[in-house]
Symmetry: C2
Subunit: 308 residues, 2 copies
């Protein structure tokens, strides 16, 4: 069993969808990644920062999932990062209503001593310099580094982003971001360009249309499960990344064949995340439910054509 | 080996894409469907209408693919249906520049005598009354009727469309059209509503995002092959439908498991269609190439997670 370091936000979200709205609830990339990876009972540690306003019960929730929280700095006189957004009727686009960086503005990640030799590192969506700082603290070269990012950093910190991308094995990015990063419309050509930037594996997330895994000239496609309704898409991408990273940490197998499984696990876990507001569904998810849904993914994609 | 009746347009297209433009070239739904189904060496017959301006060489092309053309009426003093369109840079949307119905305005389909007992009927995109007229001419109940349609008929002939949909086994429709037909955003809910309109099988085409097959509460997903470049999307949906119908006609097996294979064959053939302008690629496609690409579809989608 490998160790997994997760860096990312632990935050408050306020979400509005066509199905309702929430007050400030538990959110943040590292929260979703951690809850998702916890399905694999790996040893994981979240590196993040919160303010004195962050309730102990949220920290307990993470601890109870066997997540090490010693790397979550608490700034007693500071406030926790807060994001608020409203989804459009199609659930595929959203407006950001509020972004308060608060303590995140001065975030200096510190990897706990006993996680500096972790085999798997998941760099959640943050400033690329913060992501790089986590890598710099690792005392042994991780077996696999996975990076998530977004268009915001391409707009305002592109050089820093390129520098950290050089040092990662896997990038997870959505289709529009892949196009922005490379200037290529074709995702096949975009993935090829991203390979030359560093990552051996390129995962392109397409929301309700699933995810593509590229490895040199090979491609693998995981659909999203067709759902009756998407209740709240918040955290789906992070849940995908957490499932991916958790599965790699559990198996320790970084072959292309196993990366396919990691993508399927990521898609499976993401399909639960969107069923309820915030982290609610991921907090109460049994391994039986996961196994049952994996079976649905098999039925959704597997076929038996005999080639002649 | 079953017989396959295809009704649809045989036409001239003029196409402009970011890669170039064509003069009037061979086009039409029935043309693409026929060329695609021809991969399965089934006995097929196209029911359509053209004008005296339609070149004999185009008719010969179809004949040489073993397609019966006795149901293609030639109106010597009439002109062939003509469509012209221009694709946007993303290749996912297009503007229609010209639509000249010409002889199509008075199209009265006549099914050849020896095809009135065909087991498989493919109703290409046409006025729903024309589609129904073909069904009315069948002397024995076909084993499988497949219907393709578009939003235009929902706007201007919705009652007629509902009447013919009642009589079909499979509908192929794109995602936006499924939403328009049902008023439902979720494709799962939309497919369930379409089931109640008649079709046991609902195929929702999502272009570059693949296709979904729904059968009661079961779903199957065929991705589109990620392509380096899409040269010309014209006819891809019809090529998909032709591959689907041709495979059903060849195998005579209408089980859900075999429908999955039909969807994979449809996607496979559509992936060739878009590689060149018009029908060019489909005119010269070997069965070896098809088998090789089917193997790519297997690699793209198949995985080996052991469920616990």
């Amino acid at each position: 069993m490998s160790k997994l370091v997760i860096v990312g936000t632990v935050a408050f979200d306020a979400i509005e969808t066509p199905f309702g709205k929430t007050d400030k609830i538990l959110g943040g990339a590292a929260t979703y990644i951690g809850l998702s990876a916890a399905q694999f009972q790996v040893n994981s540690s979240i590196v993040s920062i919160v303010g004195g306003d962050f309730p102990q019960k949220h920290l307990n929730l993470l601890s109870n999932k066997n997540i090490d929280i010693s790397g979550i700095e608490i700034v007693e006189d500071g406030k926790t990062f807060f994001w608020s957004g409203k989804y459009h009727n199609d659930m595929n686009s959203r407006d950001t209503l509020v972004t308060e960086l608060n303590t995140l503005a001065d975030f200096n990640p510190v990897v706990p001593e006993n996680y500096k030799d972790a085999e798997v590192v998941m760099l959640g969506n943050l400033h690329p310099l913060v992501q790089q700082s986590v890598l710099d603290q690792m005392t042994t070269k991780p077996k696999m580094v996975i990076l998530d990012t977004m268009n915001f950093w391409m707009d305002c910190a592109l050089d820093d982003l390129h520098n950290v991308i050089k040092n990662v094995d896997v990038i997870t990015i959505n289709d529009e971001e892949a196009r922005q990063l490379t200037g290529e419309y074709s995702l096949v050509v975009a993935a090829r360009k991203i390979h030359t930037m560093g990552p051996k594996y390129v995962v392109i997330k397409k929301g309700e249309h699933g995810a593509l895994l590229f490895y040199n000239e090979h491609a693998f496609y995981a659909p999203a499960l067709p759902l009756e309704e998407v209740f709240d898409p918040t955290g789906a991408g992070d849940t995908f990344a957490g499932g991916f990273a958790g599965y790699i940490a559990k198996t320790g197998d970084t072959s292309f064949e196993n990366m396919k499984n990691a993508v399927i696990y990521g898609s499976t876990l993401a399909s639960f995340c969107v069923e309820k507001f915030g982290t609610q569904r991921m907090e109460n998810l049994s391994s039986d439910e996961v196994q049952k849904r994996l079976m649905q993914f098999k039925q959704l994609t597997q076929f038996e054509i005999q080639l002649t």
